[in-house]
């Protein structure tokens, strides 16, 4: 047990908690994409960058320690996060206007939250494979942001270890652990946790696209800060109860 401050506000923490866990429990939103409190922290998207005693750290992996002075909601950090979000948009192929995840997508929602208008960088337009082989699940790599939530969910929760990242650098890509490399042969089931954790529209359940109409989707009604806190605070609290 101890106390840190985030933007001047005193925040209690439990031993072993990360900054983001302490913040979430106290009702302070720190933008994040690769983090989901149900899984092992990863620390790759860097959206959760905060300043701890003057140094930039990832809130999702950095352990809370007594007396830390954390800056979170500052112009400088939000500008950095906006730039990171823009990077994720230009790196892949995100055509929100006709993406079926629109309105439920965390990348898009975080973009709105950070008041991103359009990316300042040129698009990469990479060629990425779409895997529609599976009966019930679609894998559209165009939208993958390499958060590895599917990797972690499949490995640590489903016990199937169906996904991995291959390649290096900007040529990274998500691969499926099956001899053919296709989802169909992987033994993935629609009930797998991994089928439901993708923050963007890269892993989708087929035939669900327009069940909820655009305009009444998750982030159409509430901002990602609200949605995230209400969903994640109980998960974090349950860990130490």
């Amino acid at each position: 047990m101890g106390t840190i401050t985030i933007d001047g506000q005193a925040i209690p923490f439990q031993d072993g908690q990360t900054l983001i866990e302490a913040a979430t429990e106290a009702g302070v939103y720190i933008p994040h994409l690769c983090h989901n409190p149900e899984f092992k922290p990863h620390g790759s998207c860097k959206l959760c960058s905060v300043k701890v005693n003057g140094r930039v750290c990832s809130a999702c992996t950095f352990p809370a320690a007594e007396g830390q002075e954390v800056l979170n909601d500052t112009d400088e950090l939000n500008e950095a996060r906006r730039m990171i979000t823009e990077m994720l948009f230009v790196e892949g192929n995100h055509f929100c206007a006709y993406c079926e995840k629109s309105g439920d997508c965390q990348l898009q929602a975080v973009g709105y939250f950070l008041k991103m208008t359009g990316p300042r960088f040129s698009y990469f337009y990479p060629r990425r494979e779409v895997d529609a082989s599976h009966r019930d699940i679609l894998l559209d790599r165009d939208r993958c942001i390499f958060c590895e939530l599917c990797v972690r969910a499949s490995r640590d929760v489903d016990g199937k270890n169906l996904f991995a990242i291959a390649g290096r650098g900007i040529r990274n890509h998500l691969i499926v652990n099956s001899a053919s490399g296709e989802l169909e042969d992987s033994g993935m089931a629609v009930t797998d946790k991994a089928a439901h954790v993708c923050p963007v529209g890269a892993i989708l359940i087929k035939r669900q696209a327009y069940k909820v109409p655009i305009g009444s989707r998750t982030y159409d009604e509430r901002s990602i800060s609200e949605v995230s806190l209400s969903a994640e605070a109980p998960v974090v609290a349950a860990k130490h109860d």
Partner: protein, 616 residues
């Protein structure tokens, strides 16, 4: 001294594209390779190196088989196969050639050498010739900048490449001549030792440092290393004695790892240490093992130094015979320690200690989250000391001569001396050992450099300094360097240097975190645009914003330093950037008219209306 590769150490050429039995079945051989590595998953990278050498690529069938035999996922094998530059999932040539893309090799004529090679052999960079005879590609710095342009053929280094030599090489390749029959001087590697100091001279007599350490006592020896003020020579400058102390305080099996990844362009001093002072390095590792109580050590050798494997293994053998490795070292009961070599396969990021450990475990070289640090949870989750080659070499000498001997040299915060790899525009490139605190001007004078426009200190991740800073000092508190010291004269284009470095980082980013994965490519594109004359004021703004973000938000040291070439040249030579800019505020990075080419071809038109001119 010239180091000649023994022809007996060179692997024979694989005559057929597939080392398979008559039915074309590769399974028996792949299984044999896996078995020879003890069916041990941590040996994955070593296994894949063998498979690559055997089949000139990693066939899909081998991926499956290796995964099954090792009991690991298909994804891990595939992931590793695609991560390292010297592994390939598509067939490469019987002669597989990489030329060093380092800026220094460029200055020495690499572009012309590459052009000639491709021309003579009828291939393009990145291609394998249709008959499978040869493939040619670029690789990051091969650590031979003092004798470039350089490259690798089937993993073995080619030095001092000239156009006539390229002609000879092309003939040999067309004739199918085995590498072992190529003229030896093609593979000759000079030490180029120009100035020695505390660490290099005299080389340690094998066993002497360990004997002294046992005579002094291990606690006392650690205290001497503390007193010497020795700080890590690999970059970060962490106090060595403190690292060893932290490690020994942890419980459980401990490991000692020597970081010989030496990937920073322009650095080659670890190569020379391993060529000429290997006993001293191994003795330093053994000393560390005695102090932290470790039983197993690894030397992580960068893939480019494959040719050192056999000589180093011979020295390890010799040390076992001398009772300096193995069981009961120097007769001390309970002091058992041995060292194994582990080869990399072309990935600069594997020099970062936690990525190195991942690679040692048979994974992609992705840096871990910290804390925990390797001294508490390193190799296989155990406490691990990771030190640079030079750090171990220095520690061995300190154990022998005492802390005061070392601390008498250098500055208050940087004790002892530092080995530099000097390359670029100077009369005598090579290895120089200097006391910390030496002025840059003095170094430039010694190696015969004049009309210098700038020096890149610490490699691409370091700082580019201008002539007005030449009275600055070599020291952790002033100009820190892992050893790279690249000199550029007034005829060189500063932007071309920054551009080369930005290509390096984009190529080497591991891709784990967003700022570096995407940012290094954006930075590269932006510099390309400016260098190609399409840059505008808006691009300079983008360059600055991007650089700041990559520096502060990246996950590891690679990303955190990847923008240094831009930031340090922009700060010192803003006029050179401004001179390249167009006078409008924005110009797209592409050629509008060029984009219409496909449409013109499809419609068969080429009239004036089928062309666009850009409004300015």
């Amino acid at each position: 001294m010239i180091f000649n590769i023994k022809t007996a150490d060179i692997e024979p050429l694989r005559e057929r594209a597939y080392g398979a039995d008559k039915q074309g079945n590769i399974d028996p051989l792949v299984k044999k390779i896996v078995k020879a590595h003890g069916n041990d998953p941590t040996e994955l990278l070593q296994i894949l190196r063998r498979v690559q050498a055997e089949y000139r690529h990693i066939p899909q069938r081998a991926v499956e088989l290796v995964a099954t035999q090792l009991g690991i996922s298909h994804g891990q094998v595939q992931g590793v196969s695609e991560f390292y530059s010297f592994l390939s999932t598509t067939p490469r040539g019987q002669y597989d050639i990489f030329l060093s893309d380092c800026i220094i090799d460029h200055l020495q004529g690499e572009p012309a050498v590459m052009a000639q090679l491709c021309n003579r052999l009828g291939v393009k960079p990145g291609q394998t010739r249709a008959d499978g005879r040869v493939s040619v590609d670029h690789a990051s710095c091969s650590g031979l900048c003092d004798q470039g342009p350089s490259g690798l053929v089937n993993g073995y280094p080619l030095t001092r490449l000239t156009l006539p030599r390229i002609d000879q090489i092309a003939d040999l390749i067309e004739r199918g001549a085995p590498l072992a029959t190529w003229p030896q001087e093609f593979f000759a590697i000079a030490d180029n030792l120009h100035k020695t100091g505390l660490i290099l001279d005299p080389p340690l007599v094998p066993g002497k440092a360990l004997e002294k350490a046992f005579a002094t006592g291990l606690d006392g020896t650690l205290a001497e290393i503390g007193k010497s003020g020795l700080r890590g020579r690999g970059g970060a400058g962490f106090k060595t004695a403190l690292k060893w102390k932290f490690c020994r305080e942890e419980a459980g099996n401990r490991y000692v790892v020597c970081n010989a990844d030496e990937g920073e362009p322009g650095t080659f001093k670890d190569r020379v240490l391993l060529q000429s002072h290997a006993h001293q390095v191994f003795e330093g590792m053994t000393l560390a093992a005695a102090i932290v109580d470790a039983r197993q050590g690894y030397l992580y050798l960068r893939g480019e130094y494959l040719y050192l494997c056999e000589p180093l293994n011979r020295i390890l053998e010799e040390r076992r015979r001398l009772g300096l490795l193995g069981r009961k070292i120097l007769g001390h009961k309970g002091f058992d320690f041995d060292i194994r070599l582990h080869l990399g396969a072309g990935a600069y990021i594997c020099g970062e200690e936690s990525a190195l450990i991942e690679s040692l475990e048979g994974k992609r070289g992705v840096p871990r989250n910290r804390p925990p640090y390797p001294v508490t949870q390193g190799y296989l989750g155990r406490p691990t000391v990771v030190n640079n080659v030079e750090t171990f070499a220095a520690a061995a000498k300190i154990a022998l001569n005492g802390g005061d001997w070392f601390a008498a040299v250098g500055t208050e915060k940087s004790k002892g001396s530092k080995i530099l790899s000097i390359s670029g525009d100077c009369a005598r490139p090579g290895i120089y050992e200097y006391p910390f605190g030496t002025k840059i001007a003095r170094i430039l004078e010694d190696c015969g450099a004049d009309q210098v426009i700038g020096v890149q200190i610490g490699g691409p991740s370091g700082t580019f300094i201008a002539p007005r800073e030449f009275d600055r000092k070599l020291a952790f508190e002033d100009l820190a360097t892992g050893g790279s010291f690249m000199i550029f004269n007034e005829n060189r284009d500063v932007l071309a240097i920054a551009r080369n470095f930005s290509h390096f980082f984009a190529h080497e980013s591991c891709g784990f975190c967003t700022p570096c994965r995407v940012g290094t490519s954006l930075l590269k594109n932006c510099l390309d645009k400016i260098c190609d004359g399409h840059g505008t004021a808006a691009d300079l703004v983008e360059l600055t914003e991007l650089s700041r973000l990559i520096k502060t938000a990246s996950h590891c040291g690679l990303g955190q330093t990847a923008a240094n070439p831009v930031l340090s040249t922009l700060e010192r030579f803003p006029h050179l950037y401004e001179r390249r800019l167009r006078e409008i505020s924005f110009q797209p990075g592409f050629d509008l008219d060029g984009e219409l080419e496909v449409a013109r071809r499809l419609t068969g038109r080429d009239d004036a209306y089928a062309h666009l001119t850009q409004e300015e």
